[in-house]
Amino acid sequence: EHLQTQHMLIHPGARVQYTFPQLFFYKPNLWWPNGMGKQALYNVQISVEVKGYGKSDSWSHLFGFRKIESYIDNATGGRLFKVNGQPIFIRGGNWILSDGLLRLSKERYRTDIKFHADMNLNMIRCWAGGLAERPEFYHYCDIYGLLVWQEFWITGDVDGRGIPVSNPNGPLDHDLFMLCARDTVKLLRNHASLALWVGGNEQVPPKDLNDALKNDLKLHPYFESSGET
């Protein structure tokens, strides 16, 4: 039941979006954060073959079945998280980046992230003044069960709350900011560890950017119903 083939015609030069019929799983192994269970990952492979040609392209990704919810708790004003319906007490660490000169490596990511898991943490917060972290960072967070809070590139100090006050309207090119944000979401959105996108550090992004981010990142209505019996 986990292998499916569909047929489609694509016209010359066309770029089409296609959704496979949903694949059913009975009680799959769920992905859990560090300390709550195993980080079960499934290898999803998508490939396309063209008649008269053969295999044209393929793609694969390690995917974790998990449902992450978070909301502001009115009593405390804090953000509460649930994973697969279970409340989780967040023990998080701040992350800026591996190396100031961006000498990034899988080995360094694996070591740093396993270190966080060994310290019994279950979340890493990627600070807005650093990077949108790389797929290798997220891969090891998937493996070791570190949820990721990923901020976009707005910080209080530089964007409107620093000394001197500067850039109250954020970067000059808002279209470029949104283009980068959308491309970053497409790069990272399939990782089980990605738990929360955050507009910036100690600062709300300029209204047009914040509204656009909220609009682009809201849960698709189709999935609102998920979880009912």
Binding site: Q4, H11, Q22, L30, N43, Q45, S56, G100, R103, G162
Partner: protein, 261 residues
């Protein structure tokens, strides 16, 4: 050529743009550089200009002692001082309807590339991917010459004498990392991380290419009934209608080498 992705992460050279009189077209046709021709040096790609200069000991490692003070800041040197050429070659011979994309997962901050004498632009922005269809400009004999000119952020800013969080905040005008002007925990990065800072690859596909699949799971009956939803884009880059079979397969590794399909 085999279908799939190949990383271009070795054999890169770099040189300061102000020390190279040749054009990108000349570098990738009649005058390709070699490691032994100064001022070209071995480059760290993925990596930044400063990372390459440190690797070649042209400047000291900024993280030791006060060495960072001996490295000229971009505010004093000007942006062209940290505008660098990166050069490499790669072998690729396509068959029939095969297509080739040249992919930059991230550069900082903007650039132009020349492949076998043909120019393409890498637009501004530190957090965006670039994927260029270079099928038509590959070299017939399969040996391809690639030169990339990378420019620093538009607003590198100047570090005030008192330092401070994010220097004079000018970097915030660009879409780039903001710590590079220095913070309470970090000295200023002299080149503001200019460079090809993430993965470079070439990917060979047939006439139809898969683009950015999106995987979503939905849960019912207390996580017993679960669905996997997969949406992706396909692009047919051939000149005829493509009759496609689309496959999705999900496997998980059980104990040892046993796989459940």
């Amino acid at each position: 050529a085999e279908i799939g992705k190949t990383k271009l992460d070795s054999g890169w050279l770099a040189a300061r743009s102000t020390e190279i009189q040749l054009t990108g077209t000349q570098l990738t046709t009649t005058h390709p550089p070699t490691k032994s021709t100064a001022p070209w040096m071995e480059a760290a790609v993925p990596g930044t200009v400063l990372g390459t200069l440190v690797k070649n000991k042209v400047v000291p490692d900024p993280f030791y002692g006060l060495e960072n003070e001996t490295i000229v800041d971009i505010a004093d040197s000007g942006r062209e001082f940290y505008t660098f050429w990166f050069f490499t070659t790669f072998q690729c011979k396509l068959l029939g309807e095969q297509q080739l994309d040249l992919n930059f997962r991230a550069i900082n901050y903007s650039g132009e590339l020349y492949l076998n004498g043909h120019k393409k632009v890498l637009p501004k922005g530190m957090f965006r991917r670039h994927s260029l269809d270079v099928t038509d400009i590959l070299h017939p004999d399969g040996q391809n010459l690639l030169a990339v000119l990378i420019h620093p952020p538009d607003h590198p800013g100047r570090i005030p004498p008192e330092g401070g969080q994010g220097g004079d905040h000018e970097i915030g005008k660009d879409v780039a990392t903001q710590y590079v002007e220095g913070w309470d925990w970090m000295a200023p990065i002299r080149d503001r991380n200019t460079g090809i800072w993430d993965e470079v690859s070439i990917s060979v596909t047939g006439p139809v290419k898969i683009i950015d699949p999106h995987l979503v799971s939905s849960f019912f009956d207390n996580y017993k009934r679960v669905y996997l939803h997969a949406t992706t884009e396909f692009e047919n880059r051939s000149k005829w209608v493509a009759e496609c079979s689309l496959n999705i397969q999900v496997t998980t590794e059980l104990e040892g080498d046993v796989c459940l399909v």
